[in-house]
């Protein structure tokens, strides 16, 4: 259907509609607007700075780390010294270097798994909110099934069947168990937005459902989607650390989770290696906290329209 065939009245409706939905859907503009809104929040700014530091450390790990991640041969279970600021592991590796290299895994898993869960949540949540009838019931059943099955046991069981899968396996497991909550939140928002005038206008101007959902409704949920991403990334980082602490990932990979796994399994508790125990957990907590802090600012992205929607 070409533009010419649309009657003038419809074009007028579209003009009004486009004027009433704030941003032109240029991705760059949206990103910039989102970033500046988030930055203007004090808590979020602290979060962004912490996250930025961790990303810098992860990217420049080869330059910053004094030794290789698995480089051993130093004194075993040594206390902190000038050569090894945080001491060494029971296998004679430098704790600080492992900590620096380990940041790569946590950030990578958090970003990738968070992104994948969010994409699935958006696809499922928005279509689910828009369709009615049998299709909606089927999606409802599947999402509820994933919501109600306890996440950690499911993750552990899948990880056990996929034993020895490494980082990719962990991402898959985290995404399988992590998308459903976001889908449910986005669905209820879609349901509340779909009865708005601008959606009705789009329907009557003959737009296809796909376009209505992803071009008309979706931009109005930016804050929810961004918030969902940071929430999912936080959950992914914690889940990854938990699974690796249990020894379910690839224990030869150096990450914060595996550091804690080796710390407990090499009796760092008995030898009093508190830095080995303390540092990786603190890093996980800081990284996860930074994402939580950023989410405080994300709430502010929501335009007044969306706030109305939330109250309904």
């Amino acid at each position: 259907m070409s533009t010419q065939s649309i009657p003038p009245s419809t074009r007028a409706v579209r003009a009004i509609e486009q004027a009433s939905i704030a941003p032109a859907p240029s991705p760059l503009k949206v990103v910039l607007r989102v970033a500046s809104t988030v930055w203007s929040n004090g808590k979020a700014r602290i979060g962004i700075i912490i996250l930025g530091l961790f990303i810098l450390i992860a990217v420049f790990a080869p330059l910053i780390a004094p030794y290789g991640a698995r480089q051993n041969g130093f004194d075993r279970s040594a206390d902190a010294s000038a050569a090894h600021w945080l001491g060494t592991t029971a296998a004679g590796e430098d704790v600080l270097s492992q900590l620096i290299w380990g940041s790569q895994i946590s950030i990578f898993v958090g970003l990738v798994a968070g992104l994948l869960s969010t994409v699935i949540a958006v696809l499922v949540g928005l279509s689910w909110g828009y369709v009615r009838g049998f299709g909606a019931d089927v999606i409802n059943f599947i999402v509820n099934l994933f919501l109600v099955i306890p996440g950690l046991p499911l993750m552990i069981v899948i990880a056990a069947y996929l034993s020895g899968g490494g980082i990719g396996m962990i991402i898959v497991v985290v995404v399988i168990t992590g998308w459903a909550w976001g889908a449910r939140v986005l669905r209820s928002q879609t349901q509340s937005l779909r009865s708005r005038d601008f959606v009705t206008a789009a329907v009557f101007s003959g737009e296809r459902p796909f376009r209505i959902v992803f071009r008309e409704i979706l931009p109005n949920m930016t804050s929810l989607i961004v918030g969902n991403f940071f929430g999912a990334a936080t959950a992914a980082i914690l889940a990854e650390a938990g699974l690796e602490y249990l020894g379910l990932g690839d224990t030869t990979v150096v990450s914060w989770g595996t550091m804690l796994f080796w710390a407990q399994n090499s009796n760092a508790l008995l030898t009093g290696q508190w830095a080995l125990l303390f540092a990786p957990g603190l890093c996980i907590a800081l990284l996860a906290t930074s994402l939580t802090l950023i989410n405080f600012g994300v709430d502010g992205i929501s335009n007044p329209r969306l706030r109305e929607g939330k109250q309904r």
């Binding site: 065939s5 099934l145 499911l154 899948i158 056990a160 069947y161 296809r208």
Partner: protein, 355 residues
């Protein structure tokens, strides 16, 4: 203009969901329960089937790995072999027959023999571990819910004061902390450095499980650190949940009306605002109670506490598939049933949900 496709469901079709007959109050309540029960059965079936499909979707054959592992313990009888193949799937077998055999096992609660703790049966292991988890996680969940909800009421009522900001801030950060790390730190400082509490197990090496004051005291002493960890890490969620819903009910007209009528602030807070705000927290509480059966895997692992979570951890690390399948099924089913009960309770407490 070409065909204007009105997407399924224009404004008119929004009302009246399908299958909501106009009926008397009791009829509607029964219909609500029947609908929820039907959903429960369907979900149970889906969860049981998922448990059947998972090992068969995975690369390799868990059954072969399991048989190889079992063979280390001695000769494997034909009956055991076919039982394992029924549970875990053999590439050559007829999938439908396997499914029927598996369903039979589930219905008769016969999950066979554990590989790791051979020759103990899965049911024996589960019934030994279950009481520890139920008492530890159950008691702590109840304490956390009651305490957290009360603190949440207080935070919402005294909004803006330190009673609000402190728990809210602590609550939001606690959710970003890896709780097994909190457990590790407690274990290290209170267990190893301070030597205040035992570092692992559910009772001392000389004690035998029995109902005496001495043993119970010993058990509580051993459960203290895990209990503290679960309490610290779960309290924030209850506070935040209660606070956030209560803040929105405080804004409602009926609360303002009650205040304007000169009721005591305490009455308004507890009997008007909190009473309506507690529903979402109650839902989470029901689910948390269902989750008690699953224990707290990471915390039980850190403290070597012999509950269901630790058993699942052992099953997974030793690739003890029968034990793992049985535990996962049990954990899921109890959450599903809890979910169902919460739905029913919700219908009783909030008539609006029984459409």
């Amino acid at each position: 203009m070409t065909s204007v496709t009105i997407a399924p469901g224009s404004a008119e079709s929004t009302a009246a969901p399908a299958g909501a007959p106009v009926a008397s109050g009791r009829g509607r309540a029964l219909g609500y329960i029947a609908r929820k029960a039907g959903l429960l059965l369907l979900t149970l079936w889906a969860a049981i089937t998922l448990n059947f499909i998972l090992p068969r979707l995975m690369p390799g054959s868990p059954a072969d790995a399991a048989l190889a592992k079992l063979a280390q313990n001695g000769p494997v009888s034909e009956a055991t072999k076919s039982a394992i193949e029924a549970q875990l799937g053999v590439p050559t077998g007829n999938i439908l027959e396997q499914y029927v055999a598996y369903l039979h096992q589930v219905v008769t609660l016969d999950f066979g023999v554990s590989y790791t703790f051979y020759p103990q049966s899965v049911s024996e292991l589960v019934s030994t571990a279950l009481p520890y988890t139920l008492v530890l996680v159950g008691v702590v969940t109840i304490i956390a819910f009651v305490l957290g909800t009360l603190l949440g009421v207080l935070a919402a009522w005294k909004r803006g004061t330190w009673l609000d900001t402190l728990p809210t801030l602590a609550g939001s950060f606690a959710s970003a902390f890896p709780y097994f790390w909190t457990a590790l730190l407690l274990l290290f400082f209170a267990g190893y450095v301070g030597r205040l509490f035992p570092t692992s197990g559910a009772y001392g090496p000389t004690a035998t499980p029995e109902f005496t004051i001495g043993f119970l005291g010993d058990a509580i002493y051993h459960a203290a650190l895990p209990a503290l960890t679960i309490l610290i890490t779960s309290l924030g969620g209850w506070i935040l949940g209660m606070r956030n819903t209560m803040i929105s009910t405080i804004g409602d007209d009926y609360v303002t009306f009650a205040e304007a009528n000169g009721l005591k602030p305490r009455t308004v807070a507890l009997r008007y605002a909190a009473r309506n705000a507690i529903l979402p927290n109650l839902t989470s509480f029901g689910l948390a109670l269902g989750g008690v059966v699953g224990g707290s895997i990471l915390v039980e692992r850190v403290f070597g506490y012999p509950g269901i979570g630790y058993l699942l951890f052992n099953a997974v690390t030793n690739q003890d598939y029968p034990l793992m399948q049985a535990l996962f099924l049990m954990i899921t089913v109890s959450v599903l049933i809890a979910n169902f009960l919460v739905d029913i309770l919700y219908g009783v407490l909030d008539p609006r949900t029984r459409r």
